[in-house]
């Protein structure tokens, strides 16, 4: 079975990359192929990376409160590129009140501080598009 391919991205101006890097390593150790974009990526850069890397999953790490601007743009660009089946998950400081809006956008997993790595790995494994189906 082909490995799940994950792009971990840090959009926006925020430089707090502890979570992004820890998750990237945990997913890699769990057997996934992980590409970390580095800091301050625009939605355009993130979607381009997902396209080039043939990603099954995009993991966005946002701690600055800019998720309501960044997530819709990432989803819009994915749709534009025909990548609707890419699983988009989000980690960071996300207030309760924003959860329904993010779910409606199609952000299927939102992971806040204190989430066990296991839970994220299991969620990604269960929900990433199957490689066989995508070919």
């Amino acid at each position: 079975m082909a490995k799940i391919r994950v792009v971990i991205a840090k959009p926006g101006l925020d430089g707090h990359d502890r979570g992004a890097k820890v998750i990237a390593r945990a997913l890699r150790d769990a057997g996934m192929e992980v590409i970390y974009t580095g800091l301050r990526q625009t939605p355009q850069q993130i979607v381009t990376a997902a396209l080039q890397e043939d990603a099954d999953v995009i993991g966005l790490s946002i701690l600055s409160g800019a998720h309501n601007h960044i997530c819709p743009e990432v989803v819009r660009l994915l749709t534009e590129k025909g990548l609707n089946d890419v699983l988009v998950v989000l980690g960071g400081i996300i207030p309760d009140v924003d959860l329904p809006g993010l779910a409606a956008l199609g952000i299927r997993g939102v992971f806040r501080p204190g989430t066990p790595m296991r839970e994220i790995i299991d969620f990604v494994s269960a929900n990433a598009r199957s490689r066989a189906a995508s070919v």
Binding site: G15, R18, Y36, S64, G65
Partner: protein, 557 residues
């Protein structure tokens, strides 16, 4: 085991044989090894034997005396309590000004400004990269006009202000100075702190703009300017806080922070400054994490290391250069979104460790900060936590109450030794700037972050409400919500500002700034003139981007 020729066992060995071992046979301990949150192994018991190699009179000494292990004040907190300085800022300058008035009315004794990400990154609110970020995790300050609003009704001569700003520290400091000037306050008398610590940005928080070397130049310009013009200002707050938050161990926080401090002193000396002319205004900023005694030992070791380094390595003769003064903030990274009320307890214990470690000022986090910026109620409770420690616990009656504890003194000595070993490694690389350019401290911190996360996953480290004692007690707390109105107001304000100001004066000032950056003139002088002309943060930072370029990190995991 003691061999027969050595006679009967004494001390700890005898105790182990006679008392401990029979107990262990009957009732084993909870684990094979006990470690701190940083992974440091802790023995079962510490006794006088552990202090055998330590010259207590010389290395620990008395409070107020070199090397200040027991504190820099002979009266501890009996003379003056620490400054209760709550970091805050959000939305527009008007909104944050109201929060400041509230904090000062509630008994806060200093202000601490949190800026939003566009300000921290030297971008104006209307820049494309600022989209969605304006006023979100701090207050938006685009120009002198915003700074004037931020301090409206607050006399800067009567308070001290700390500003958490790094890459654009000179620009925001220039704005504060011009506000002081307009309020009629004397630059020679005002006091406060700018964080101005770029090295930890490269290591941990990653809010850098320019490459390391020109960034260091901006900092030494502030050292020189303040030594002459603003002598009571703390020109830098060398910060371990963010290094720890990024995942460092207590030892790494201690070692990298103090080594950063040495780097700043070296660059100041290389820029032609006399050690005793600028080192007394260097201050520090540490994290108060959850492992109680390790944190206390960290603060005590920090004072000792700094005192020796300033005296022995740099030949400082003014005792103010030897005394390490520090601010502390409780560990944001320890806060959990689950069962948020537990955060009040975590924060109280962390704050107590900072007090027992002799901090000069303290910020206590609010219970809701794993979810959002704090509400006014949560921020007030955080301040009350400090007031309970200060006025009810009794720990402030005595100077360094843990001094002489076998465990604390041994741990302090061990932390010092560990930090000095890190110094050797970094010195061999050529210094901290060179170590950062090689990615050394960055890698060390990432490794520790990952190791800790694995320990949590294995439940080697328990986090109440997260990986144990999860229960079904879902708690929901009210949170502060920052909408887009702040961004709209800031962008509108900026549009008016750009129409109303003297364009020729702004352009002249920015040209002067570029010339200073290309040459050797102190950049603070043209920055103050640009500020008076209402140049924006983005314009001032762009002028320097034109000269120095921007730094980009190579991503790695």
């Amino acid at each position: 085991m003691t061999s027969p020729t050595e006679g009967p066992a004494t001390g700890k060995t005898r105790w182990e044989q006679d008392t401990l071992n029979p107990t262990l046979t009957r009732a084993p301990e909870r684990g094979r090894e006990f470690t701190t949150i940083s992974g440091r192994t802790i023995e079962r018991l510490y006794t006088a034997e552990d202090l055998a190699g330590i010259d207590l009179a010389r290395e620990v000494a008395a409070p107020g005396e070199f090397p200040y292990t027991r504190g820099i004040h002979s009266t501890g907190y009996r003379g003056k309590l620490w400054t209760m300085r709550q970091f805050s800022g959000f939305g527009t300058p008007q909104e944050t000004n109201q929060r400041y008035q509230h904090l000062l009315a509630a008994g806060g004794t200093g202000l601490s400004v949190a800026f939003d990400l566009p300000t921290l990154m030297g971008r104006d609110p209307d820049h494309e990269l600022s989209l969605g970020e304006v006023g979100k995790c701090g207050v938006s300050i685009a120009s002198l006009a915003d700074m004037e609003t931020l301090f409206e009704g607050i006399s800067v001569a009567d308070i001290t202000t700390s500003m958490t700003i790094n890459s654009p520290a000179s620009m925001l400091f220039a704005m504060y100075l011009v506000v002081a000037e307009k309020q009629g306050a004397d630059w020679k008398k005002i006091s406060g702190t700018i964080q101005n610590d770029i090295l930890k940005e490269f290591i941990a928080q990653k809010e850098y703009i320019y490459p390391p070397r020109p960034s260091m130049r901006l900092i030494t310009d502030v050292f020189a300017f303040c030594a002459a013009e603003v002598p009571k200002w703390n020109t830098i707050s060398v910060s371990g806080y963010h290094i720890r938050e990024a995942g460092a161990t207590a030892l790494q926080e201690l070692a990298f922070t103090l080594r950063d401090g040495l780097e700043y002193v070296q660059y100041g000396v290389d820029a032609g400054l006399k050690v005793d002319d600028f080192v007394p205004r260097i201050s520090f900023f540490f994290n108060a994490h959850s492992d109680f005694f390790e944190e206390i030992a960290k603060y005590r070791a920090a004072r000792k290391i700094w005192a020796h380094a300033m005296k022995d390595r740099f030949g400082a003769t003014d005792e103010r250069s030897w005394k390490l003064r520090f601010h502390t903030q409780t560990a944001g990274v320890s806060l959990t979104a689950q069962q948020p009320y537990n955060n009040v307890v975590r924060t109280a214990l962390q704050a107590l460790s900072a007090v027992l470690g002799g901090t000069q000022s303290l910020h206590t986090n609010s219970l809701d900060e794993a979810l959002a910026l704090p509400t006014a109620e949560a921020a007030t409770l955080a301040l009350r936590t400090q007031q309970v420690i200060a006025h009810e616990s009794g720990v402030t009656h005595i100077v360094d109450p843990l001094g002489g504890s076998y465990f604390v003194e041994k741990l302090t000595a061990d932390m010092e030794q560990g930090a000095l070993a890190y110094f050797d490694t970094i010195d061999r690389m050529g210094g901290m700037v060179e170590a950062i350019e090689r990615g050394y401290p960055q890698r060390e911190v990432s490794e520790s972050a990952y190791r800790f996360q694995q320990a949590v996953e294995r439940k080697d480290k328990v986090i109440v409400g997260v990986n144990d004692f999860v229960g079904s007690d879902a708690q929901s707390v009210p949170t502060l919500y920052i909408d887009e109105a702040a961004a709209a107001r800031q962008i509108e304000g900026l549009r008016h500002l750009r129409q109303d100001r003297d364009h020729a004066r702004v352009r002249r000032a920015l040209d002067d700034l570029k010339r200073a950056a290309q040459g050797r003139d102190n950049t603070m002088v043209p920055l103050i003139e640009a500020t008076r002309a209402y140049a924006t943060v983005g314009e001032m930072c762009d002028a320097l981007r034109d000269v120095w370029g921007e730094y980009e990190e190579v991503p790695s995991i």
